[in-house]
Symmetry: C2
Subunit: 399 residues, 2 copies
C-alpha cells in the first residue's frame, strides 16, 4: 500500500524504549527521533524554507483546517501543491483538520491535550454526527462540513507526504462512556478514511491512524489494537493525555507498549524539551508543536539547562527571556555552542534591543535560533541513543 515509504529502526537504546530510525518519504528521509515544525498556514512564521533548511530542518507540517478555508485546497493544488507552492522540497506532514475544528475557540490546542482547561465545545463547531463535523469558518463565518472522506481529499490536494485520518478530538472533562463512544466513531471514521485513501492512492502519500481512548487504559488498548490491525503506515497518539506531566508520561508509556513496534509513532502537539525526553524513552519517533516558534516571537530563546546553570539564570523555564534587562549590553551570543545564523551574527544585547524596539528582525532571529536548537537537540538525542548515553544527555538539556 505504501511502496514509496519506509520505516527502518537503526538503533535501540539498551536502557529504555528509545530508538533511532529512518523514515523514508518521496521527498527524502527523516531521521528519527525528530521534531516537526508548524507551518500552520503553509508558512513558518518568520523563516523561509531556505532558512529552515539552513538551520538543519528535516520536516515541517501544515494544517488542513486553516488551508481548507484559506486559500482553499483547490488553490493550493493549482499552485502545485504544498511543496511547490511553499518552495519546500523536504518531507512534509498535514493533520486532518479535526484537531482545530474541535478545539479552536478554546485557546491553545496543547491546553486541550493536556487537559488544562474546563473544556466545552467551541461555538464555531455546530454539530458532530456520524457523517462528520459541521462548523463555521473562523475567517468569514461560512458553513463547512468536514467528513473523513473530505479530510483525505483535501489532504490529497495539499499533497503532503504524511497525512492523517479525521478523528474526534474528545474534550477533557467528559466521562468514560462519552470517550468510548467518541473513540468508536473515530474508528469508523478511520475505516472510511482508509477506503477513501485507497480509492485514489497515488503512492505519493502515507496514512497515519490515530489512537484514542483518553485516560482509560482499556480504551487505549482497544484503540491500539484497532490501528495495529489496519493498513496504516504510521500511528499518532491523539486524544487527552491527562491533566499533568506524570499522567501524560504514563498514558504515553502505556499506549506505546500496546502499539506495533515496526511503525513510526507521532506524538501530537508536544514540544517542551523535558516532555520530548519523556516521549523518546517510550519510543516516540516524531513530535510537533508550535512552542519553539511561538516562544521565539515572544523573546524566548531555547537554551540547554547546562547553559542556564553557567549563567545562573534563576527562571525555571527552558529558555532565556531576552526582554530581560540583564541582557541589555550583553555582547555574548545566546549560546556560544550553538551554530545557528543568529548566534553567529547577533549578540544578546542586540536581540534585546530588537525586541524592545519591536523590530521584526528580532523574532526572525529568535525563530532561526529556536529551530536550530530543536534540530540540534534531536540530533544530540539520536547520537545519545546510538551511544547508549541518553540519561547523561538528558541532564545536559533539562533540569
Amino acid at each position: 500500500m505504501y511502496p514509496n515509504f519506509n520505516f527502518e529502526i537503526i538503533n535501540s537504546d539498551p536502557n529504555s524504549n528509545a530508538r533511532c530510525g529512518k523514515l523514508t518519504t518521496p521527498h527524502g528521509i527523516v531521521e528519527t527521533p525528530n521534531f516537526i515544525f508548524c507551518a500552520t498556514k503553509a508558512a513558518i512564521k518568520g523563516l523561509s524554507p531556505t532558512a529552515m533548511k539552513a538551520e538543519n530542518t528535516q520536516i515541517i507540517l501544515a494544517n488542513t483546517y486553516h488551508l481548507m478555508l484559506q486559500p482553499t485546497s483547490e488553490i493550493v493544488k493549482q499552485l502545485g501543491g504544498l511543496h511547490e507552492m511553499m518552495g519546500w522540497d523536504g518531507p512534509m506532514f498535514t493533520d486532518s483538520g479535526g484537531y482545530q475544528i474541535f478545539s479552536l475557540g478554546h485557546g491553545s490546542i496543547s491546553s486541550e491535550i493536556k487537559g488544562k482547561r474546563n473544556s466545552t465545545r467551541p461555538n464555531t463547531l455546530l454539530k458532530i454526527t456520524e457523517e462528520g463535523a459541521k462548523f463555521r469558518s473562523y475567517i468569514d463565518g461560512s458553513l463547512h462540513l468536514l467528513t473523513p472522506e473530505k479530510a483525505i481529499q483535501i489532504q490529497r490536494n495539499l499533497g503532503a507526504d504524511l497525512i492523517v485520518v479525521l478523528d474526534e478530538c474528545t474534550p477533557f472533562h467528559v466521562d468514560k462512556t462519552y470517550t468510548a463512544n467518541s473513540m468508536h466513531m473515530s474508528h469508523r471514521w478511520a475505516l472510511r478514511s482508509v477506503e477513501e485513501f485507497k480509492r485514489e492512492n497515488n503512492y505519493a502519500q502515507a496514512l497515519y491512524g490515530i489512537i484514542q481512548g483518553g485516560v482509560y487504559e482499556d480504551l487505549r488498548k482497544e484503540s491500539a489494537d484497532f490501528v495495529n490491525s489496519n493498513e496504516f503506515f504510521a500511528h499518532a497518539i491523539g486524544g487527552c493525555l491527562g491533566s499533568d506531566k506524570n499522567q501524560m508520561h504514563n498514558i504515553v508509556g502505556t499506549t506505546m507498549s500496546m502499539l506495533s513496534q515496526n511503525r513510526p509513532v507521532h506524538l501530537l502537539g508536544i514540544g517542551g524539551v523535558s516532555d520530548i525526553f519523556n516521549g523518546i524513552i517510550h519510543g516516540i519517533d516524531t513530535f510537533d508543536c508550535v512552542h519553539p516558534t511561538r516562544l521565539a516571537r515572544h523573546g524566548g530563546a531555547l537554551v540547554p539547562h547546562s547553559l542556564k546553570l553557567i549563567e545562573a539564570d534563576p527562571s525555571k523555564t527552558e529558555h532565556f527571556n531576552l526582554l530581560n534587562n540583564r541582557f541589555r549590553s550583553d555582547e555574548k551570543a545566546i549560546d556560544p555552542e550553538c551554530g545557528c545564523s543568529t548566534c553567529k551574527h547577533f549578540s544578546r544585547g542586540y536581540l534585546h534591543h530588537l525586541f524592545k524596539a519591536k523590530e521584526i528582525l528580532g523574532l526572525q532571529a529568535l525563530t532561526a535560533h529556536n529551530v536550530h536548537f530543536m534540530n540540534r537537540l534531536m540530533q544530540s538525542i539520536r547520537n545519545a541513543i546510538k551511544d547508549g548515553t541518553l540519561e547523561q544527555e538528558r541532564k545536559k538539556w533539562v533540569s
Copy 2:
C-alpha cells in the same frame, strides 16, 4: 581630513548631468548612483544583513534619533558600534537626528520634504535655540537636548562611515525670512559640527554638510557656497523641495548646478522610481527612503513599467498590489526577469495567500524583492549612464 575616504567620478552621461562614481569608505566601496536602505532602529524590517547582501545591497543607514533614545549610543558603542552590533560589514550612513526631531509627530518625513502637509511643529519638540533642539522622547517622554556637538558625538559612538551635521529641518509653510534665519542657524550649527568632528577625528568617518534654503534660489545659492567652502567630504540636499514633483525637479536641478562637482551628493528621503531618475539626471549620487521596504510590508511589489504594460495592470503606481484578488491563483513569479530569492521560490498566488493570511513571511519575501528591485534598478541606471542610454532605460522603468 578624510584619508580613508574617496569619491571618484568614472563616467558622465553625455546627455545630462548624470554620473557614475566610486565612493570609497573604510567598509568598502559604494558604486554610485546608489540607493541607501533604511535600517531605522539598526535593523531592516524583515531582512537580515546576510539577506540584504544576498540581494546585492551595498549600503544601509540607521537613524540617530531612534538609536540615541533606544538602546542609546553608549549601548551601541558597548556592543561594538553599528557594524559589529548589526552584523553588517558594508558601508553605512547615519543621519544627524534633526530630521526626526523636527518632523516626527507630523506623519511621514517625505510628506514634510515634499510640502504635502500644513506643517506645525510636533509637540514633542519643545524649543529650538542657538544651542540646539530640546525635545521629549517618543518612547518615555524624557527630556533631551540635541546640540550640533552631541549629534557628532552620538554618531561617533554609533560608528557609521558616513555621518551628517545637525540642521534645522525648516517646515514648509514658513516665509522666506524664517527660512533664511533658519538656514543661517543651520550654517552656524554646521561649523560647530565640523569643529567637534575635527576635535576627535578617528579617520573612520566622513562628514556630510547639508544645503538648506527651501524653495528660494538665492538662499540655495548662499547655502551651496557655504558647504562648498567648508571641509565636508560630501553634501546632502535638505530642507523643503517644494509642493510638487516639478518644483522638486527644479529645486534639485538648480541646487546641483551650484554645488562643487567633485563631492558626492545625497538627496535626503527620496525613493520613488521616477523621482530617482529625475535626481540622477541632475547628478545626484545617492538616495535614501523607507518607501521600498515600507511598501513591501503593505503588499506592494515594485516592478518595472514594462512589466505593468505586459500585464495590463490598470493602476498608476510603480508596483503590483499583491493583495489584489487577481493574483489569487497566479503561478508566475512577481517578475520573471527578477533574480531575487522571492522570485526564485514563490509565486504571486502564494504571496497573495501569505498577505491574506497575515503571515510574516509575506512581508519578508516582498522586502527581499523590493530591495533586490532597487539594487537592480540602480545597477541598470549605472550601466545606462556608461552606455549613454539613460533615456531608453528610463522608459523601461517608469511611465
